[in-house]
């Protein structure tokens, strides 16, 4: 079985993975409501049942799930810096679809080529040295056929030093996970807080890093978090034995 046929039973969708993908791309299923973690878990279950790792299928799955995660993360991020956001969700879906179609096209072309090669099986070509009477080349009979300028041009191209790569367009991280961990722990010492509170006035990068820090706190068992509705505020509470159950919707 390939990745496409992976059977899913999610809250908002039940059916094969490829159908989910199609519905998401047609915006007939809201990606915001799809728990991608559950898709990954379903795939892991499937791998476990199967008992072996098909590298090609696993690669395909990673590519698809990464594309969905990218799309979803674009939908989830705050939208206050419209000029920096390069894609509308619709555009992102179009891009994803185009990319999948392109990959699919060359996978089909690859199958065609493999078939062609198999069809040529057994047709070998002769590779023998030329007989002696053809190996002697008379230098005086040879005419100039190449232009020396080709060699000069090749040397010129090899002398070209590539321009240094500009890193100007990359955001230099000004905020670290450790810093945001300290910030969150400080907030939690005075009880329940919210994600909005934790990132008040922060820029986009800080929001992301804070989310990482929050994941780390959750993993360490220091905090639990809850989001009542999509886009709603995330409540963060210090973890106590009787505390809330964490619920993540990423």
């Amino acid at each position: 079985m390939t990745v496409a046929g992976l059977e899913l039973d999610l809250e908002v969708f039940s059916g094969p993975f490829d159908l989910l993908l199609t519905l998401v791309l047609r915006e007939e299923v809201d990606l915001m409501e799809v728990e991608l973690a559950d898709v990954v878990l379903a795939y892991l279950d499937f791998l476990e049942q199967r008992g072996e790792l098909d590298l090609e299928a696993a690669t395909e799955f990673l590519v698809l799930i990464a594309a969905l995660l990218e799309l979803k993360s674009r939908l989830l991020l705050p939208r206050d810096e419209e000029d920096v956001l390069d894609f509308e969700p619709g555009e992102a879906a179009d891009e994803l679809l185009a990319r999948m179609l392109e990959a699919k096209r060359y996978r089909a072309a690859a199958e065609h080529l493999s078939g062609r090669l198999a069809g040529e099986h057994g047709r070998r070509f002769r590779s023998a040295r030329l007989p002696g009477f053809l190996r002697k080349v008379d230098l005086s009979e040879s005419a100039a056929v190449y232009d020396p300028a080709q060699l000069g041009a090749a040397i010129g191209a090899l002398l070209r030093v590539p321009p240094p790569i500009s890193l100007a367009h990359l955001t230099i991280p000004r905020v670290t996970v450790a810093e945001r961990l300290r910030h969150l722990r400080a907030l939690l010492r005075s009880g329940i807080t919210t994600f909005d509170e934790a990132v008040k006035g922060a820029d986009r990068v800080t929001v992301c890093v804070t989310l990482f820090a929050l994941l780390e706190l959750y993993k360490q068992g220091e905090a639990v978090w809850e989001q009542e509705v999509p886009f709603g505020d995330i409540t963060i509470a210090p973890n106590t034995p009787s505390g809330h159950h964490a619920r993540m919707s990423a």
Binding site: T22, V63, G122, F125
Partner: protein, 192 residues
């Protein structure tokens, strides 16, 4: 067998690479239409299934190859496999190079979604692709080789089918739509 046909047979037996009709005409001091006629006659002699050799038009020229029926014996005698089949990763990389050439490694990686370094290395080693210049940023560009055409039985890359032929058909779209409706009904029937 006329003298011209015999000469052509000898030339194609000796030549290490496929030879174009123009070069054959020059070597034989014959007219192009005489060569065309002689090649047709030779093609009859070496038609598939008749002999131990076949006349083939590949990589822009004419060449003789062994007949596939002799492959088992050839492998025993020569003790080397013809061309091992391609892995899916190699076939995909080769397909991208064949259709988009000249194409750079980062572009191949972008299309495949995974790195193509090992696959393109193997294809280079096997002589199926080669460097064909550099991009404006100095990245090596790849293209297919005449050996690729020879081994895949192609006269030129233009003989490859239009890749849009493999795009999903309207029927497939309709099929997906139907499956969508069914899945929707199933969900209504079994609320979670």
């Amino acid at each position: 067998m006329s003298e011209l046909v015999r000469t052509l047979e000898a030339l194609l037996f000796l030549a290490p690479e496929p030879v174009g009709a123009v070069e054959l005409a020059e070597a034989c001091a014959a007219e192009p239409d005489e060569i065309a006629e002689a090649l047709a006659e030779l093609g009859e002699v070496f038609a598939p299934g008749r002999r131990g050799m076949e006349l083939r038009e590949v990589a822009g020229g004419w060449t003789l190859s062994s007949a596939p029926e002799a492959e088992a014996a050839a492998r025993r005698l020569l003790a080397k496999p013809r061309t091992p089949p391609l892995t899916p990763a190699q076939a995909e990389t080769l397909a991208i190079v064949a259709y988009l050439q000249p194409v750079s490694r980062p572009e191949i990686t972008r299309i495949r979604g995974v790195s193509a370094d090992s696959a393109s290395g193997t294809l280079l080693e096997r002589g199926l692709i080669e460097e064909g210049g550099r991009s404006q940023f100095g990245a090596t560009l790849y293209r297919t080789t005449p050996l690729f055409l020879k081994l895949f039985g192609l006269n030129s890359v233009d003989d490859l089918p239009d890749p849009s032929a493999w795009d999903p058909s309207p029927e497939d779209e309709a099929d997906l739509r139907e499956r969508l409706l069914k899945a929707g009904e199933a969900r209504v029937a079994t609320p979670s």
